[in-house]
């Protein structure tokens, strides 16, 4: 049985001043080379103030909050919506809050609500996840 309670927040992750280098590292790691994420000339030509981060980079960082708590093998379902772009220099705070604890076939599942906000409190990502609780 879990020692978490509904409404409890997991240990958040803060990424200080995410950089273009962080975007490039993710492009290399994921194989997603959409130039909007690393080529300033192309990004600004289409009306953006600068390059912006990959949604799946924000999602990957969000998932760390979950895998740090439950372990990588516990993550069953992870869904995210990219609500606003992440810009170079943004400081991002990733939080996950327990919304339900369910027993199913003798196993305990934890449902969570996930959010990433920038330094101005603007939400860049929201989502939800289900993890198997093994504690």
């Amino acid at each position: 049985m879990t020692n978490l309670t509904v409404g409890e927040q997991l240990t958040p992750i803060v990424i200080e001043k995410i950089s273009r280098t962080d975007f490039v590292k993710y492009a290399g790691a994921s194989g997603d080379f959409n130039p909007m994420h690393h080529d300033e000339t192309i990004a600004t030509a289409t009306g953006n103030p600068s390059v912006f981060g990959h949604g799946m980079l924000t999602a990957g960082l969000m998932a760390r909050v979950l895998t740090d708590e439950f372990g990588p093998e516990a993550l069953r379902k992870f869904q995210v919506r990219f609500s606003k772009p992440v810009w170079p220099g943004d400081t991002l705070t990733f939080t996950a809050t327990v919304t339900a604890i369910r027993e199913e076939e003798g196993k305990t599942f934890v449902d969570l609500e996930c959010t990433c906000s920038n330094q101005d409190g603007v939400e860049a990502l929201n989502g939800s996840a289900t993890a198997l609780d093994q504690n």
Binding site: A29, T46, Q79
Partner: protein
């Protein structure tokens, strides 16, 4: 958007967009790049000895990395003879929807991936939205369903991925605030002694209706004399804010910079019996219907102007 174009893109829905094999097996080098990009220090991804002593018995790949194992890379898309997904992207590009941004991702994991797993994807075009005006621009949401399995056919996970294909430069918030001129205010109402009370009440979030003090008939818009009995004496009552759409228009042109377009404007039949013209909010312009029940929502547009708007009642 023409009906023909909508039909043309909807033909792709439900099509199998083909299978694709990962270029490489799940491997330590790519996992290391990934965990470094994520700042993830869990040793089970990279430390063979610690991983061997863990419940996994060997190194594993981070779950969210699923998508990366069958990434196509930035190869040139074939102009013809590609998969249905290629063809659909070409059709959208050809219509000017050349930019792409990811909007949603849902992943499910059946098991951990280990070094040496070789993945294959099967992609199905799940849905294509009609044309939407978004902050980034005018575009179509395109959702694909991707099944991940090993080359041996064992399912390991699945992903629903939604992108927006949009026309660059058609958005509302693409430029920074410094670059874009401040948005002009809404046109001012022509205030006079007869209608001032109505706009003053609106500032206090009260929707009022003028009422003849002699015969009691309600009237809108405000005017000095009762149509029914001719009296010049009047007061006001507060409306409930409930009504139905008596009629409406969706304005596309000409565009005034202080409004968002397409702009749905309704003639609202209040339950008290009078009608008024107001913005319609809370739904896509195409979703409003005559007789639709609506409810009042105040719009504080600027410090000097508050106007009523109406949104569909959620049933």
């Amino acid at each position: 958007m023409s009906i023909d174009f909508y039909d043309q893109i909807q033909k792709f829905v439900g099509l199998e967009a083909g299978t694709q094999d990962g270029h490489d097996e799940v491997n330590q080098a790519m996992i290391r790049h990934w965990v470094e990009a994520m700042g993830d220090e869990n040793p089970v991804y990279v430390d063979a000895q610690l991983a061997a002593e863990s419940i996994h018995g060997e190194r594993i790949a981070p779950p969210v990395m699923l998508q990366a194992w069958v990434m196509r890379g930035l190869k040139h898309r074939p102009e013809s003879g590609g998969s249905p997904q290629d063809d659909l992207m070409n059709v959208l590009d050809g219509a000017g929807f050349t930019s792409v941004v990811a909007t949603n991702c849902e992943q499910e994991y059946d098991r951990m991936l280990h070094l040496g797993d070789h993945l294959r994807t099967r992609t199905i075009i799940d849905s294509i939205s009609d044309e939407k005006q978004t902050a980034l621009g005018t575009g179509h949401f395109l959702t694909t369903r991707v099944e991940y399995e090993t080359l041996e056919g064992e399912p390991v996970g699945r992903m629903l991925f939604r992108i927006l294909k949009f026309k660059p430069g058609t958005g509302r918030s693409v430029s920074t605030e410094e670059e874009s001129p401040p948005r002009p205010l809404r046109p001012r109402p022509a205030l006079n002694r007869d209608n001032q009370f109505w706009f003053e009440a609106a500032k206090e979030h009260r929707l009022v209706i003028q009422k003849c003090s002699d015969c009691g008939v309600l009237r809108h818009p405000p005017r000095p004399r009762c149509d029914k009995c001719g009296s010049y004496e009047h007061g006001a009552v507060e409306a409930s804010g409930k009504g139905t759409i008596y009629s409406f228009v969706v304005i596309h042109y000409p565009q005034v910079p202080s409004f968002d377009y397409p702009l749905p404007v309704g003639l609202i039949a209040l339950e008290e019996g009078t009608r008024l013209v107001a913005d319609l909010t809370g739904a896509e312009a195409s979703e409003f219907k005559i007789d639709m029940p609506v409810i009042l929502e105040w719009q504080d547009l600027d410090p000097d102007l508050t106007l009523p708007a109406f949104r569909p009642v959620k049933l």
